[in-house]
């Protein structure tokens, strides 16, 4: 057992967990942040994607100890009160989700894609960048549409700030 201190969604937390604990289990089971999901056991589906220090990573492939001292953001931490993050709004408005299970990981990965590419996104780039996230419902058509839409919204939001 080890004590791990980290920041999750802006709040400092300190938890005692077994060293074998994965970050995703710390989030889901210890912190009750069940928006982050587990969809595979081979680090491929991306349902578990969260941000560590601003980078999209698969929380099923990070030991809790590796995240010690880090700033972790989950799907629960991206909206400002009632105001959705532009990526969340774009997924809703473009029907970028169906069953919702892959959605938190998709949104967290997509925010990272836009952060890295800014406004220079096209369909082909988005499809390539979504390689680490699997969806079984949407055929990706509306997810791609959502990301492109959000890229525009995020640019506007940044310009406004």
């Amino acid at each position: 057992m080890s004590t791990i201190k980290l920041t999750v969604n802006g709040k400092a937390v300190s938890v005692e967990v077994e060293d074998r604990t994965l970050l995703v289990h710390l989030l889901r089971e210890t912190l009750n942040l069940t928006g982050t999901h587990v969809g595979c056991d081979t680090s491929q589906c991306g349902a578990c994607v969260v941000h560590i220090d601003g980078q999209a990573v698969k929380s099923c492939t990070v030991l809790a100890g590796q995240a010690a001292g880090a700033n972790v953001t989950t799907i629960e931490g991206i909206s400002k009160g009632d105001e959705l993050h532009p990526m969340q709004a774009a997924f809703r408005d473009n029907h970028g989700l169906q069953c919702g299970y892959c959605t938190p990981g998709m949104i967290m990965s997509s925010i990272d894609i836009v952060n890295r590419h800014g406004g220079k996104l096209d369909e082909e780039t988005v499809r390539h960048e979504l390689e680490g996230n699997i969806c079984r419902c949407t055929g990706y058509h509306n997810i791609v549409k959502s990301v492109l839409d959000a890229a525009g919204r995020m640019k506007v939001a940044q310009a406004a700030e």
Partner: protein, 266 residues
């Protein structure tokens, strides 16, 4: 996974000392190779030594005729590196088609090379460019480093600190992705050294892991062009065959990927 003890040393020496204390220690860099295996309970290290936060293991430099990438440098950092883009763009391209964006944030060049997965991309670059592997104990030539599937010249507890790639005259990488895992079904790295030597390495194709491809090297030595390979035949002996590709298909891919790598190298 089984219970283990996690350590986060801050220096290479501390890491090596921790390693020797554990009954069955393993190093972890990005974790994207070791943790999936541990999750499947196929590995049960007593101690996991995290190299990811050791500052002396991170960085990219160009000095003289070599591009040196320190072992715990992530793929993401390689993609961002102006030095890498300028000196060996083929390495940047290889990195961009490796894994997925989340893996590229965490995965490290040292982890990939030390693990020597038979379908990993970086071993092909190491072998084709004639890189040298620097460890906390010595320097190992790339030609003698890979010893078959998941096996290398590294001794127990030895830590790769950096990989030094001689800057070639020309280099290119072309990869046919495994449709499911996105590893290399076959990837070929071609290089022409500044001295005029041609070195070609293929990954994903052989039963023994990454390998040089002498017939292609000979053809390209005579004539550095994709067309020079039109009539080359790659023997199927020793090539992998599975549900995603027969050995004949992989033999074809070695040739076709080599042609595309040459075209990309210019």
């Amino acid at each position: 996974m089984y219970e283990t003890t996690y350590h986060r040393p801050s220096s290479v020496d501390e890491a090596a000392a921790l390693f020797s204390k554990g009954s069955d220690s393993k190093y972890l860099a990005g974790g994207h190779t070791l943790l999936p295996v541990m999750k499947q309970r196929l590995a049960s290290p007593s101690d996991v030594i995290d190299l990811g936060r050791i500052k002396e293991l991170v960085g990219i430099d160009v000095s003289g005729d070599a591009l040196t990438i320190k072992a715990a440098t992530t793929y993401f950092d390689i993609l961002q590196s102006a030095e890498a883009k300028k000196t060996i763009p083929a390495i940047v391209h290889l990195t961009s088609v490796l894994g997925d964006p989340q893996v590229r944030y965490r995965g490290t060049i040292g982890g990939s090379v030390a693990n020597n997965d038979p379908a990993a991309d970086f071993p092909a670059a190491v072998l084709a460019l004639g890189a040298t592997i620097k460890t906390n104990k010595r320097t190992i030539a790339g030609d003698g480093f890979f010893k078959g599937l998941f096996s290398t010249a590294l001794e127990d507890g030895e830590i790769i600190t950096a990989i030094s790639f001689p800057i070639p005259a020309k280099a290119g990488y072309s990869k046919m992705r495994h449709p499911a895992s996105r590893f290399a079904l076959t990837g070929v790295f071609v290089a022409q050294t500044k001295a005029g030597e041609v070195r070609v390495a293929a990954t994903g194709a052989s039963q023994n892991g990454v390998m040089r491809v002498p017939v292609i090297e000979a053809a390209l030595k005579a004539n550095w062009s994709a067309g020079a390979l039109d009539n080359v035949t790659i023997p199927t002996d020793g090539l992998l065959a599975d549900i995603h590709g027969s050995s004949a298909y992989r033999a074809n891919l070695i040739k076709v990927m080599a042609q595309r790598a040459v075209a990309a190298a210019g």
